[in-house]
Every structure is written in structure tokens, then in C-alpha cells.
Symmetry: C2
Subunit: 163 residues, 2 copies
């Protein structure tokens, strides 16, 4: 799976993937709107993706991913999702901001960071208690919101093992 794609090419690929997934097929105009660019920019980006065998597209027709393109798009989207979950679900960044940040950051994380982030999100979210939130995360979110220290730090210099 050769990934010699520029950041912008990755964005186009991901957009086509999301649109096709959601509505069955993707069109130039929709991609342009989704990425907030003009149509000629989409066309020239598509040429690159076609040359790499990631997209099929006949003149004046609609856009489809090849299976290789779809694999790659899924991988790209996976990064996006992990980042979003970390930013939104753990850090508590507002949804729209987390979404925008994930878009921009996704192109810049190394495989190692990605995998550790996946583990971190899994570790946090697979916590099995009733309330679905680990205590330390509760404490963090309270701390972030109010500056209030976790309860176990308030009463003595001794830790309580909760953090």
C-alpha cells in the first residue's frame, strides 16, 4: 500500500471515501464543498489519485475508489477517528474544534504515535465500570473545568492509588 500521497491528496481521498460511504457515490462538487475548495482544485487532485490507481473516474462522470484506494482511505480515516476520540472524549475539546484539529493533525503523526494513541484511547474507553469513565479521567475533567485537584490529593500528602 504505497502511501506517497501528499497531505492534500490524503484529504481528497478521505473526502471521497466519506461521501461515497454516506451517499453511495461522490461527485466533484460535493468533494469541493466538503473540503471547502473550488472545483478545479478537486479535478487536479483527482488526476493525481487516478494516476496512482486509487480512484476511478470517467470524464464528466462520478467518482469511485478502487479497492486499493478504499484501503488507504480507511487507514487515513482511522487516524482521523483516533485523534478525534482522544481530543473530544478524553481531553474534552469541543466537537467542532476537535474535528478541525483532527483534520489537520492527522497528516503529521508518526505510525508509532498513532499506535500508542490507539492504545491510550482503547485503554481509557474500554474501562468496564458502570459509568464508563475511569476515575482518573473524571478527576482530570473536573480539574480541567475547575482547577480542582483530585480528592485524593486534597487531604494529605499520601496518594490513594486512584490516579
Amino acid at each position: 500500500m504505497a502511501s506517497n500521497l501528499s497531505h492534500s491528496a490524503q484529504d481528497y481521498l478521505e473526502a471521497i471515501f466519506l461521501l461515497a460511504d454516506r451517499e453511495g457515490l461522490a461527485r466533484v462538487k460535493e468533494v469541493a464543498e466538503h473540503l471547502d475548495v473550488k472545483k478545479p482544485s478537486v479535478v487536479s487532485a483527482i488526476k493525481v489519485l487516478m494516476r496512482k490507481g486509487l480512484v476511478v473516474h470517467q470524464h464528466y462522470g462520478c467518482l469511485e475508489l478502487t479497492s486499493e484506494g478504499e484501503e488507504l482511505a480507511k487507514e487515513i480515516h482511522r487516524r482521523h477517528q483516533v485523534l478525534y476520540r482522544f481530543l473530544h472524549d478524553i481531553l474534552g475539546v469541543k466537537a467542532e474544534v476537535a474535528e478541525a484539529d483532527a483534520c489537520r493533525i492527522e497528516h503529521h503523526i508518526s505510525p508509532q504515535t498513532l499506535e500508542l494513541l490507539v492504545k491510550f484511547v482503547d485503554f481509557t474507553e474500554s474501562f468496564p465500570e458502570r459509568d464508563k469513565t475511569p476515575k482518573w479521567l473524571d478527576y482530570f475533567q473536573r480539574f480541567a473545568a475547575t482547577g480542582e485537584a483530585p480528592p485524593c490529593l486534597q487531604d494529605s500528602s499520601r496518594g490513594c492509588g486512584c490516579k
Copy 2:
């Protein structure tokens, strides 16, 4: 503090700041080496920074930040540091990789994410126990390394408050 700086301009500013901080002054050649670009690239980047009043530099002389440039550089560097601490100290990304990722990501995080990340790192690192590591983080790091679940999840369906 007008921050209409391109990503690359921010990199140059940060590099000058670090070099000047470390060695008293910065020179074109050093900046070039630090950023792994050629000298003419540095020269043209510096022109931009001079036009914005962030750097002083006389022909064939050495580089200095104005006070405004220094303010900005500190702010940029702060982002970098927070990211590095998160990636390295918490996620456990290898030092060189964390450094490289921080470099690239620093340009793409929103102020909101930055502040929450600061809080997250503070929350984690200001933990006062003897061993300097919160238990949950110990558990995460073990989980990341071995896939092993935290002890409190191994013996029953009941949580233990440690996570």
C-alpha cells in the same frame, strides 16, 4: 501579538530562538542545519520575519529576535514542549520520534486543544507520589507494552478505583 506567520516562518522563528537562547546568537548556517534546509531558504525566510519586525539582521551579520519576536517564539516553543511532554512522557513515544512529531503537530493545534493538553500534562505530571507516576499511567504503560490489562480488571468485574 500578530501571528500571521506561516508554519515555516514559525519554524524559523523557533529555531532562531533556540539557537540564540543556547549560544547567545544565531547565524544563518546554524539555522539551516537545525532545520535541515539550505542557507538560501533561511535567508528568504528571514526577510519575511524582518518585514514583520520579529528579527533584526544586518547584511552578513548575525540574527537576533526583537522583543516581539521573542514573545512569539516563546509561545511557539511552549506548544512544542507541551506536545513533546505528552507524546514522550505520557504516551511513551520514543524521544526522537516524539520530537519530530511535536515539530510537525505544533502548527496545527487550536488554542483550546493546547490549553487542555497543558492541563492534561500538568494533571499527570504534578502527581505527588514518591514514584512520580500515577498508577493509571503505570497501568497504561504496561498495557501499551504488553497488552496486559490493569490488575484491577483482571480479577473481577468490579472496578477498584485505581484507573
